[in-house]
């Protein structure tokens, strides 16, 4: 009788019963409605390497800072891509939706960035994204003969990152290509000190990791980017050229686009980047100039360079148009003579630009001279 008054068994039953109620009602019931989901087209099962990468993703707790689902609210589909579906996650055990975004959502990461961007980013996020607070993972890389090489762990992790949401990668890439094709720079605002200062600030915040503080491409990520980040002290680009690249990025390289920024900010960066390379006019080539040199350069250019760089140097040659990354437009930037000579000697690893070291010294001088003429008048 005594025991009964205490009703203690009722509370025990309540504990077990309410657990079962919640599990059946809010766990098992949705589960049964989700049974038999098919993976969407393009979402193939993970390879063993990607699987290993996912394991590392879980064990390093990347999912404590990165979610993996795009919500249908808050403009997320504009920022990240298509809204997530249950089908896409049908094989994820355990699921990695996540609850906190210190960093951006990764559900649409596949193909968004190049592999070398991802590797350099893992080695030290500040090397590609100076404002980042993501932890560095230097122990996934090793020094070999003075070279920094990713270990299998780093490669597996990047393989996994590139697989997240790969069913929509083509769609995202097509949209991006469309954007690039149709991009029109529009009018530049008036250059001002305030704008230049803002540009300086944003350059330090967004670009200095890859392109270096002074623009000479000696950032933390220099050892891992292929192709290397452009040396901005040597190219004398037009503001419009930079502005366009900032909106489109350079597919096939680590160079990202920054189109989330408002146009004014991107113009500010463009103006600032222009100040990084010394202003020299066409004449100061450092070699003796003559019309015969110019003629020689023109012939060589037509013979050796035009298929890629285009007859007028606009980067639109028959072969060049299909290249990834695409060749630069010499009509919009004017590399310094020493920079051109150096590239003719070494080529640009990671791109279709091969070395022309076998050319006689004089031809190379002539080419450099000619290329610097291609940008109409004074680049501004």
């Amino acid at each position: 009788m005594k025991r009964l008054e205490r009703f203690q068994t009722i509370f025990l039953i309540a504990g077990i019963g309410f657990f079962l109620l919640s599990f059946l009602g809010m766990g098992l019931a949705p589960w049964t409605t989700l049974k038999g989901l098919q993976l969407p087209e393009g979402m193939t099962a993970r390879t063993p390497e990607e699987e290993q990468g996912r394991e590392i993703f879980m064990q390093e707790a990347c999912w404590h800072c990165h979610t993996q689902f795009v919500r249908p609210v808050a403009g997320e589909s504009l920022r990240y891509g298509p809204v997530s579906t249950a089908e896409e996650h049908a094989l994820e055990i355990p699921q990695l939706f996540g609850t906190r975004r210190v960093g951006p959502d990764l559900a649409r990461e596949s193909g968004k960035r190049s592999d070398d961007w991802q590797l350099a980013h893992l080695y030290n996020p500040r090397g590609t994204v100076p404002w980042s607070i993501m932890p560095a993972f230097p122990w996934m890389f090793e020094e070999k003969d003075g070279q920094l090489v990713p270990t299998d762990k780093a490669r597996a992790l990047v393989a996994y990152i590139q697989s997240i949401g790969r069913n929509t990668a083509d769609q995202m890439k097509a949209a991006n290509d469309d954007y690039r094709r149709n991009f029109v720079a529009g009018h530049a605002p008036e250059k001002s000190d305030a704008l230049l200062e803002r540009g300086h600030y944003l350059y330090a915040r967004e670009c200095s990791g890859c392109h270096g503080k002074t623009g000479n491409a000696d950032g933390i990520s220099a050892k891992l980017l292929v192709p290397a980040a452009a040396n901005l002290t040597k190219i004398q680009p037009s503001a419009e050229y930079i502005y366009t690249i900032l909106n489109t990025g350079i597919p096939g390289s680590a160079m990202p686009h920054f189109r989330d920024y408002k146009p004014e900010d991107l113009w500010a960066i463009s103006f600032y980047v222009q100040t990084l390379s010394p202003e020299t006019d066409i004449a100061s080539t450092g070699s003796d100039m003559s019309s015969s040199l110019l003629e020689r350069g023109k012939q060589q250019f037509a013979a050796l360079c035009a298929t890629c760089h285009g007859p007028s140097g606009a980067g639109d040659g028959p072969v060049g148009a299909a290249l990834v990354p695409s060749p630069p437009a010499f009509t919009k930037l004017r590399p310094t003579t020493d920079h051109i000579l150096k590239i003719l000697e070494t080529g640009v690893p990671g791109t279709a630009m091969v070395p022309f070291a076998q050319l006689p010294e004089e031809d190379r001088q002539a080419l450099a001279y000619f290329v610097r003429q291609l940008s109409e008048g004074k680049v501004q």
Binding site: Q8, A14, P30, E60, A61, A86, I133, P135
Partner: protein, 455 residues
Amino acid sequence: MDSDKAVVSGPLVRAYTYVALAGILVPLFFALILAAKFVWPDFLGTVAWLQFGRLRVFHTNGVIFGWLGVSFFAILNYVIPKLSNRPLLSEKLAWWTLWVLVLAMAVGLGAILGGDMQAIEYAEFPWYGDILFAAGFVMATINYLGTIFMSEEKQLYVSSWYFILGFAFTVLNYVMANTIVAYVAPGAAGAAITGLWIHNAVGLFVTPMGVGIVYFMIPIILQKPVYSHLISLIGFWTLAFFYPLGGAHHYFFSPIPWWVQVLAVPLTAVLFVVVVSVVYNWLMTLRGSWGEVASSPALTFIVTGVFAYMATCTQGPFHAFLSVQKVIHFTDWVVAHAHLALFGAFTYWNIGSLLYIWPKVTGRELVSRRMQWWAYWTMTLGFYIFYFIPLTASGLIQGYDWISGQPFAESVVQSGSFWMFRMISGILMYLGMVLFTIVLIKTACSKKGASHEAA
């Protein structure tokens, strides 16, 4: 209180308390490094086992299981024998439970630092840590529920309702997370069940333990009965019924079937009833005794915790409104909310309760009331001024930054100074904890013979 010696084992309570203190001082130390990494991400950045992710998981699991879990048990080692008017079912089992839990924490947290963890929030211990922890938890459950069930007392006090509910529920919940979520349930189904786990870990483990303890402490310290039995009943049964059903609110707008999410909105909102009834009951009990509260650090901790609990659970239902959820989800706001509950409410309750119990289990009067007040004020100012307010603000900034379509960079750059504040808060909170620890240890080491503190 004459029967203290008869039913309560002092050494047991003290040993659990020391383990619990380690369970907060170590994870909080790592949390300081964690907070610093938000400001200087390359700080200690080349050491794999001090990587941000591993430290974050160490911190969350450490404080939830090592501090809250073990300090609850320390207090239950006192409260349950008192309520049942008999010693624990088996004191030996209680000692073994402690060693198993210590081993589980060492193994589980060690594995996490070593880079071996499950991807389930608040259940990151790898399987071998899970088994050890589950073993310890089941042992504790048998011991505590066994004690309650063997009691000869006529009435079952409201605290015991909560304890029975919490233990029975949590054993099953823990197993569910570490088996079904870890190995069986895929994708959105897995998320629905993960939501249950997260929600029920706080709602049907931490909450009933804490609420049960406060239902014991306030009346016993003030020496007067609980205001209303009926309200106790309402608070208990609404918690038991509604709380377990709101788990999907951790994954709003996710691919979990929409009907589950829609249901989760009212099922979360109704929890307001739970907290209002419980807190009303306590405040009415406290009515007329505010002088005593102000003069007792133990009661001040507990009552401050009551207000924090009220605040947390006022926030909670609002989170479930989809227009709010859209903004605050994924941001620091939620981190502030979770800390308001786990630090502001439950940690304060446990500190206050330990301050009350300590003289009884050591046979010595607490040393230095001044130091107790210093502990209270460093923690309280540190937490509210430098943690809760800044992170709530940065959460809003992050949420609105993202909605406005600005570059992601803005949300991180603009949070910088708030994260700096949080680091300062960490130092203050740590300092407070150290002071509290010193009070307990100095008391235990002081000369014997002091009478029981009349609270």
